[in-house]
């Protein structure tokens, strides 16, 4: 899909120039601020004031006022015009001669300064020695294969340099010391200071008109084979992929980030960011296209047009409408230097927010989060997508014009549950991150309440963290929501209202303590208040689910301690303790238990426990022996592998056994993993001698 980036607006109409004189044509144009100059083939220069007007319907037009016109008296076409506003001069090429005229009254300078024998010239927009009261010109001379560099002052000119080129040049551009030239068969770049030259690529300029355009610091745009617009740096490197014009391109210009080109029937617009064709505007009989300080002007033989970029907002909206988020962001960022800061920030944020919603809609959460936070999104815009999350008391209304096209989450995901879950998870993370930042200022209730609802619904472990920390959850809204999601967090609604007193809430209270990992308090409630021993045991099992054994052990010991609390000792609790030990013998640390139990308990009573504990002990001892053995053999395998990879071992008479220090007389030997070679018999002896057996031998024979 294309973008409407430009509009062609007529500026100077036929009647203002040559009227109905058929043979009079526009030869060249120049624009400097509001001053528009037109040179004609009958040796006239016209000076207009060009002013933008916006009509009521937001339509841009130009009002043109003719200031002057002047006959140069040479009966030759005015072939090129360049304004040097600092000097108040217009540099005019006519009849192979450069002359200087006053920018305002078009009178030739008194001194009559001239450069003769000029085919074409260029102004250096990035001169190295930047004297503001001079202009540097690169000139293609009528002298064969010669380029000249001139300095132009208010009323004099001075040649600085003359260079010979290997072939006849036909187009030139200057940047710093770099001359970019179209020669007969190729483009080259020459450093006029050092004389160093760099070939770019072949191009037959006798067959096709070359284009050489400076597009920025040390970078040029050139017409290439097959209608390509090629980019080349002064170092002779292409940093951007080419754009593809038609074969008959006449002129090209840059209006960042676009490259516009003119051919016989059209103006084409390509993006320099992705090289794609963005727009095509029909334009017949065009023969000039140039950009002047970012303003692109076109001319037919008789009329002048301005290629007006559409307001940035408009282009951005178009891009976003076609989901081209990255392009939109690059475009708005690229525009930063051309817009006042305040205005830029407003626009930038809005684009980022819109971009964020597009990315969100595509479930590109990382990108969306990035855009939202850079764009400082009012989080309620996002929350309001999720039905019922905003508190009923919230005064929020979505921004207008809307930031996105989604009614709500169901619309966005088309009811896909999996997607909805993902979106909710995203919102949880997003709100968690922003709730304590500046962005949330002014609507913390909305953010925290939404987060609470999401937590409750997802049975999320962070619900308690939220509630026990400072928060702005709204009571009226949160409590019913917690009730609705009948999970164990029902208790939270009580915390919320600060009235956890009722005894029938004991269980929930215990569970709550459990969540907080305050197990003794929980077990206390279960044992002493609820007197539900099975529940207490279950509690230990349940809370150590998925944890390591020592954690489970800790819980069971804790419970045992609660049963045997001397302060509340009674028979029921003793029996509970004995039952606990006997049925869960394997969990307990038998030594610690035996230290704890009072001397008056009979062995008989604890028999099942003791048996279980013994069995468990034996079992774990044997298990660790097995594990040790396995690890050892694995180690051996690795060592063997390692040795294999070491490859061949060099055994020669010069090498001696590292144990007995005698030489080897036979090819058989023992090689230790560290590469040490010994006699087989020495190794065997050492093996026998070494009581610890720490040294692992790996007999491998190499011949």
């Amino acid at each position: 899909m294309s973008v409407k980036a430009f509009e062609l607006v007529p500026a100077v109409e036929r009647a203002l120039l040559m009227g109905d004189k058929a043979r009079i044509n526009i030869e060249c144009i120049e624009c400097c601020g509001k001053n528009l100059y037109v040179g004609t083939n009958d040796c006239f220069i016209y000076h207009f004031l060009l002013e933008e007007k916006t009509t009521s319907k937001e339509k841009l037009t130009f009002s043109v006022q003719k200031q002057q016109h002047k006959y140069l008296g040479l009966k030759k076409p005015v072939s090129e015009l360049k304004a040097a506003s600092a000097l108040n001069r217009l540099i005019v090429l006519c009849d192979n001669t450069i002359m200087l005229v006053n920018m305002l009254n078009l009178d030739p300078v008194q001194s009559g300064a001239k450069i003769k024998g000029v085919v074409t010239f260029t102004v250096n927009e990035n001169p190295v020695n930047g004297d503001p009261f001079s202009v540097e010109l690169g000139v293609i001379s009528v002298k064969r294969r010669t380029i000249q560099i001139y300095m132009v002052y208010e009323d004099r000119v001075q040649i600085v340099k003359e260079l010979a080129t290997p072939e006849q040049p036909s187009a030139v551009c200057l940047d710093g010391y770099f001359l970019c030239l179209a020669l007969t068969t190729q483009y080259i770049i020459v450093n006029y200071s050092t004389g160093a030259s760099q070939d770019l690529f072949p191009f037959d300029t006798e067959e096709k008109k070359p284009i050489v355009k400076r597009i920025g610091r040390e970078e040029f745009l050139l017409a290439g084979p097959g209608g390509l617009g090629m980019f080349a740096t002064a170092a002779g490197i292409s940093q951007r992929a080419p754009v593809h014009w038609s074969e008959n391109v006449i002129g090209a210009a840059i209006c960042f980030p676009y490259v516009v080109a003119l051919d016989e029937g059209f103006v084409t617009v390509h993006s320099m960011l992705d090289q794609q064709l963005k727009q095509t505007l029909p334009f017949r009989d065009g023969h000039i296209m140039q950009d002047f300080e970012g303003k692109v002007i076109l001319a037919t033989m008789k009329e002048v047009y301005v290629l007006v970029p559409l307001p940035l907002e408009r282009q951005l909206l178009d891009l976003l409408a076609s989901q081209r988020v990255e392009e939109a962001i690059v475009l708005v960022e690229g525009a930063q230097r051309n817009i006042p800061k305040e205005k830029f920030l407003v626009m930038y944020r809005r684009i980022l927010q819109q971009a964020g919603f597009i990315q969100f809609g595509q479930l590109q959460f990382l990108e969306a989060k990035d855009s939202f936070s850079k764009g400082q999104l009012d989080a309620r815009e996002l929350i309001s997508l999720y039905p019922l999350l905003l508190p009923s008391t919230s005064t929020f209304t979505r921004s207008h014009p809307p930031l996105h096209e989604f009614a709500d989450l169901n619309h966005l995901t088309q009811g896909d549950q999996e997607k909805i879950t993902k979106c909710k998870r995203f919102l949880i993370n997003y709100l968690k991150e922003i709730r304590s930042t500046e962005v949330a200022n002014g609507y913390k209730e909305d953010v925290d309440t939404a987060l609470l609802k999401l937590y409750a619904e997802a049975d999320h472990e962070s619900l308690l963290d939220l509630l026990v920390s400072e928060n702005f959850c709204l009571l009226v809204d949160s409590a019913p929501w917690l009730e609705k999601h009948k999970n164990l967090f029902i208790v939270c609604s009580d915390i919320l209202t600060g009235k956890i007193k009722d005894t029938n809430l004991n269980l929930e209270c215990a569970i709550l303590y459990g969540k907080l990992e305050e197990h003794d308090k929980a077990l206390h409630i279960l044992v002493h208040q609820l007197k539900d021993f099975q529940a207490a045991e279950d509690y230990c099992l349940w809370n150590s689910e998925g944890r390591d054994l020592s954690y489970r052990q800790r819980l069971f010991h804790m419970l045992l301690a609660v049963y045997m609390d001397p302060a509340v000792a009674n028979d029921t609790l003793v029996m509970a303790a004995v039952d606990l030990l006997n049925t869960n013998a394997e969990v307990f640390d038998a030594v610690r238990v035996l230290r704890l139990v009072p001397g008056n308990w009979s062995i008989q009573l604890l028999c099942p426990f003791l048996r279980g504990a013994m069995r468990e002990n034996m079992h774990s001892k044997r298990m660790s022996q097995v594990a040790l053995g396995l690890a050892k053999s694995e180690n051996a395998i690795y060592k063997h592998e390692k040795l294999k990879y070491k490859g061949l071992i060099n055994l020669s008479e010069k090498k001696g056994c590292q144990l007995c220090h005698n030489t080897f007389s036979e090819p058989e030997c023992v090689c230790y993993p560290n590469g040490i070679l010994v006699h087989i018999h020495c190794a065997a002896k050492r093996n026998r001698d070494s009581a610890s057996k720490q040294h692992f031998t790996n007999p491998s024979n190499h011949t």
């Binding site: 290439g224 084979p225 080349a232």
Partner: protein, 230 residues
């Protein structure tokens, strides 16, 4: 983002340069149109930004090759295994184009469309799926270029560059057969090249101010270009 490594794909039209790059970057084989001029792609590789230039094989754009190769750190010379001429073109037409590449540029020679000639190339590499990507099997074509031919060309390239074989990456490591269609060997091609080129550019960078070798970045076992040995 300024690229710090430049890699250029060269080769005759229709050998599958664009398809290879597509397969690597987009993970699929799509219809291509013959490349006009050139295109490029940025790949993040660890801390490095690698620019990969896809050039046009068409005669008309031949003149652009030298400019695209200027300053290249690695060049992939691509041919079509079913087309002898496409290998010959590498030597006749494209080798000279690489004169503008960096002096220690590394070269890989890649025979694409292996799916048309070799059964093994019907499988994607290292993706764990063992089913042929393309089951029907297109009519088997005669393999016109064999790996030995590519290896021989690689050695002639070293001669052309006046490099000693022993100082350079071995031919066996630099000659690949791939299929953009099935994905066979495509990741291996690009990623082993990245791994080979990064130490070279790091070394060049370091040489500017110190002789220290960064051991964490140094890829042992993969000997780099002659520069380090002379």
């Amino acid at each position: 983002m300024k690229p710090d490594v430049k890699l250029v794909l060269l080769g005759d039209m229709n050998v599958g340069k664009t398809s290879l790059l597509h397969r690597y970057t987009e993970r699929k084989f799509t219809n291509t149109i013959s490349t006009i001029g050139g295109a490029f792609f940025l790949k993040q590789w660890g801390p490095h930004n690698i620019s990969i230039w896809d050039t046009a094989g068409r005669e008309q754009f031949h003149g652009l090759g030298s400019m695209y190769c200027r300053g290249a750190d690695a060049v992939i010379l691509t041919y079509d295994v079913t087309n002898w001429q496409s290998l010959a073109e590498l030597e006749d037409r494209f080798l000279a184009v690489t004169d503008t590449a960096k002096p220690d540029c590394i070269f890989a020679i890649v025979g694409n469309k292996a799916d048309l000639t070799d059964d093994c190339a019907l499988f994607k590499e290292a993706e764990g799926d063992e089913s042929p990507v393309q089951t029907k099997g297109s009519p088997r074509l005669r393999k016109q270029v064999h790996t030995e031919d590519a290896v021989a060309l690689y050695k002639r390239i070293l001669k052309y560059k006046m490099l000693e074989e022993k100082d350079c990456l071995p031919a066996e490591k630099m000659c690949f057969e791939t299929s953009a269609k099935t994905g066979y060997n495509v990741d291996t091609l690009f990623e082993s090249l990245f791994d080979m080129v990064v130490p070279v550019i790091l070394k060049n960078r370091n040489e500017g101010f110190s002789q220290t070798v960064d051991l964490t970045e140094y890829n042992d076992g993969k000997r780099t270009r002659p520069g380090c040995c002379v």
